[in-house]
Symmetry: C2
Subunit: 118 residues, 2 copies
DNA sequence: CTGTATCCCCCTCGATACTG
DNA sequence: CAGTATCGAGGGGGATACAG
């Protein structure tokens, strides 16, 4: 329950760039959002399949933060076994151009990054 | 001189989203790029004025990483006092849509984020 | 299936002082 | 002016075990 927002607020005006970026601060958030844009609705286990390198802990953590930021919604179905579905909120959906821009760029230029093996 | 790239490579394909995001991993990189898009060419001290909350150390660090990634260029003028100018490379300029998307979203929706004062 | 709870390493980043 | 050097804290995030 830390959930400490960086309280960056680094730059006075016009620096909403940063505010936006804080949303993706978490290491996996962009990926989560990306998959939600792709698939619409996803269960916890489906995330795990799509992002095998993310630990449970981190996945839960990042999902919770995205939820706290009002970008995704979490619906629990009282069944056995339990089922939980995540989807984008209306606010979350407005991020589409951002995620899209990220993906577009990556598709075109990611390969041209200088490889720096430590 | 660690310059350790996270070697994330988390997700097999289609996850260039993440690759792109790694470029902005640094806390201030997006802001640096943003200012370069605004102003074209900037000196070290000009960055400092535009980003008063960034320490020298961090500014230097982030500039170096952006340079190492081939996104900005660094030109030293052998004068006294020294002058160093930074500007976007051709590759760096291709990030315009991304930075623009980040800023657009921030301008529209940053205020609607849930305020979480820890 | 969908998570919590711990433990703990290690990297990130701030503060401060020094340099060519 | 434009940086380096060093120190040190803090928290992000991995591994693992446990729970409803």
């Amino acid at each position: 329950m830390p959930r400490i927002r960086h309280t960056t607020l680094t730059c006075s005006p016009g620096c909403t760039v940063e505010a936006t970026l804080e949303l993706f601060g978490g290491k996996w958030k962009a990926l989560i959002l990306y998959h939600l844009f792709e698939d619409g609705v996803l269960r916890f286990s489906e995330f795990r399949r799509r992002m095998p390198n993310v630990t449970q802990r981190m996945l839960t953590n990042q999902l919770r933060e995205l939820e706290a930021d009002g970008l995704i919604s979490r619906t629990v179905f009282p069944e056995v076994p339990p089922r939980v579905e995540y989807e984008l909120t209306d606010l979350g959906k407005t991020l589409k151009p951002v995620i899209h821009a990220l993906k577009e760029w990556g598709d075109k230029y990611a390969h041209s990054l200088k490889q720096k093996k430590e």
